[in-house]
Symmetry: C2
Subunit: 480 residues, 2 copies
């Protein structure tokens, strides 16, 4: 075996690994970035980008179909499945290409190709012929879709988010399992592209929505568009000649058996840790075999090992993976003087339609006892001016504040432009603004943000806050 000694080894060249590399390199030139699989991030290859591309096509078809409400008559709308997926792949390849291009600045001496596994603490085997001894190690191996046992034996009829985009054309029918971010985004997009879709969820989970009222609202909204059962009962599932036969209790009709071209499994992702032989790493593992980390340093116990990105199962979002990579890469460089970094306010978006956004503290997930220190303000988008103008007046927003301080702490939204509203609210929470301070900010007109102001006013009124007076206007215009 060839041997190599480095200050820092980073396992995985995805988003978290790349940012870790970049941070670590400021401390040392003795480092190596190890990739055992394809270069290019989960985001660009199989995650964010291809899914958003599919959604863009779905929105286009959906909006064309509803142009009649504006007085625009549109002839037959034909979804060309080949072309839809061809664009998805073409643009996706462009994004992957830009990631690969950005990696060209990494010196060849810093790159190592091969699967890494622990031989002992600080000792890694990479592929068959290389041993790397590293003072410090950053694990950034990402995650992969989980396939529950019930889907075994489906062969090519089984799709995950990775393989869906490789189909030559859109199938006629897909049964989607899982009502999380991925299932909801892809299931709705497929439905809007003319695919017969049934979505099977569990335990009432829907896109991570915490607040019951918003979840019920969203469920109703989706159900009007496609079949969705967030408490599904599937009794049998097996491959047949023409696809996959599924027996389940239809929400309306009771027990039925239907055949689908494909099953899309979106029931979750698991960290890619199995091949790492963590039992040789000397790290303390939790019950699931995952190293125990400090989220503010990404350090595994007191060891010189750091675990970041999807691999640590904390928050599987790109911006968090990038943030974690930066923290861990820097701490790997500083070790043993690691630094705790305040994590950003939690912020997530589901690119369904309407979109779902969550920011900060989720009072909807709290018990009554926990929630009593918080106050909620609400607004509906059904009568919101701008939302009505563009025919997207559907949705609900809740904003939360600490009862005593009037501090804005979080929000949850199902509604128009939630990705943008989410940023406004995430920045406000990150800056620890009070509700009164937010109400003093500029709101243009007529904009969807005026619906945010309505929720904040409701919250302010309920707070009976004494921290600042807020002008109330009779009616600032038909916006709120």
């Amino acid at each position: 075996m060839d041997k190599r000694k480095v200050d820092i080894a980073i396992i995985g060249a995805g988003t978290a690994g790349l940012t870790a590399y970049n941070s670590a390199r400021k401390h040392t030139d003795s480092l190596v970035l190890i990739e055992g699989n394809t270069y290019g991030t989960t985001c660009a290859r199989v995650g964010c980008m291809p899914s958003k591309l599919l959604i863009a096509a779905a929105e286009s078809a959906h909006n064309a179909a509803r142009s009649r409400m504006f007085g625009i008559q549109v002839g037959d709308i034909v979804v060309n499945g080949d072309q839809v997926l061809e664009r998805v792949r073409r643009e996706r390849d462009g994004f992957v290409g830009s990631v690969l291009t950005s990696m060209e600045v990494i010196p060849a001496a810093h790159k190592l190709v091969g699967c890494a596994r622990f031989l002992a603490p600080g000792r890694l085997a990479v592929g068959d012929n290389m041993e790397v001894n590293a003072d410090r190690i950053v694990i950034a191996t990402g995650s992969s879709p989980t396939i529950p046992d019930m889907f075994e034996g489906l062969g090519e009829r089984l799709l995950v988010s990775d393989s869906l985009f490789e189909l030559p054309s859109l199938p006629a029918s897909v049964a989607v399992f899982g009502c999380g971010v991925v299932g909801l985004e892809l299931g709705q997009a497929l439905s809007r592209l003319g695919v017969r879709v049934r979505m099977f969820g569990q335990n009432g989970y829907l896109g991570g929505i915490a607040d019951k009222q918003i979840r019920d609202y969203a469920e109703q909204s989706f159900i009007e568009e496609f079949y969705l059962d967030i408490r599904s009962q599937v009794t049998h599932l097996s491959p047949v000649e023409s696809g996959v036969s599924i027996s389940f209790t239809d929400r309306d009709k009771g027990p039925v058996t239907e055949t689908f071209d494909y099953v899309l499994v979106a029931t979750g992702r698991s960290p890619n840790l199995a091949g790492l032989h963590l039992h040789n790493s000397g790290l303390t593992l939790d019950d699931s075999g995952i190293p125990v980390i400090d989220p503010s340093t990404l350090q595994c116990g007191n060891s010189p090992v750091f675990l970041v990105g999807d691999a640590n199962r904390q928050v599987p979002f790109l911006h968090e993976a990038a943030h974690e990579g930066r923290i861990a890469g820097d701490n790997a460089g500083r070790y043993p003087q690691v630094v705790s970094v305040a994590r950003q306010v939690p912020f997530s978006v589901v690119f369904s339609s309407p979109q779902i956004a969550a920011v900060g503290v989720q009072v909807g997930r709290m018990s009554a006892a926990e929630g009593k220190d918080y106050v909620a303000g609400t607004s509906s988008f059904e009568d919101q001016g701008r939302s009505k103008v563009i025919g997207k007046n559907r949705g609900l927003l809740k904003v939360y504040a600490e009862r005593d301080s009037g501090l804005f702490v979080g929000a949850e939204m199902f509604g128009p432009a939630a990705e943008h509203i989410g940023h406004l609210l995430a920045w406000a929470a990150q800056q620890r603004m009070t509700v009164a301070a937010m109400l003093a900010m500029p709101f243009y007109h007529p904009v969807i943000e005026e619906g945010v102001r309505s929720a904040l006013k409701d919250l302010h009124n309920k707070l009976k806050s004494t921290d600042a007076s807020v002008d109330e206007c009779l009616e600032c215009g038909p916006g709120g």
Copy 2:
């Protein structure tokens, strides 16, 4: 003449007048809101709302036509002009109705219908039979479209933004004069709805864009879609049997004469002050006959008269009118102890496509000497990830900071979702955030906001700021 004595008289029941009323009423019950025209705000009746409704129809037609890029084939797109305008008016009427409903809480004793004019300081005639003596007066009479002399004699062939929406159907051709907000929004919308549009501007003015590079970019973008000449030369204009004949120098072909169904004049708006007989008011007037005011109090000199909203020709945006109304109503209540209120950061949006947004200090409008204390960061949306995904990768953003402090002071943008990006940036400027602080905020992925981060990073690099370190990432994902 009937006589009436009140503490406060408010002339005009539009947006500014209504918010002034609401603020003033907290100080006294002896007040009257005088309206000489139709109830309902400029915004709801003839401004923001109907124009955004027309734009929504135009976007729908435009997006249907470009669905092919996503693999969606759409049959013939037929714009039903009757139905388009019918929806505009129906929804518009709903917004006007909501304004009228909100006015129902005003006691009848506080409402007075009739045109007001000054008889003397503190003395108003309202209509023919009423004299109102008021200790304090708020003037909120709004504005009306200006019609330059050259358009006289066009009769029904002359449209302004008010009358356009009353047409029974969309015309076949319209010559639009004025490339400001109104001209640009309506001209582009008409063009997208299949109307033959030529837009004639003056002096290179385009939607208020200050920065030359952004203005050039926007001009080029619009020109690819419809005829636009921001330095037009119109030599003759006269009504003919079939419409209006216009002789002008075509940007490409030289001198031509064309006939249009209508001329839409959008060359500006003037304060509705002529009927007020301000010469009797005792107020100090400027050269244009407009009372001189202090923008932080809205007070006219040291008098007990306040001038707000479009009538004062300061910033003709609804949110500013509402803010001014609140300040002036409160100050009318407090008079003579008036309070100076800090005005919000300037913020404007043009709902063209792409949209235009401006926030805070406009370095593009400064001389080189004035501009030397500021630094600009730039990003293009042509390669921006999310913008590419949705096929809207067009536009340019500039962000500005003080050179010494690193304080973010303003931005100008032509690009996707500028109305939302504008809010994020307006709130940041209002809170006096530094560029480094903004870069530490959460940015989701993949979102258009990542293009903002690119501009901020560029700005941060140019500032060589020492105020805070900002993590640079190799490539956080294909977003920026």
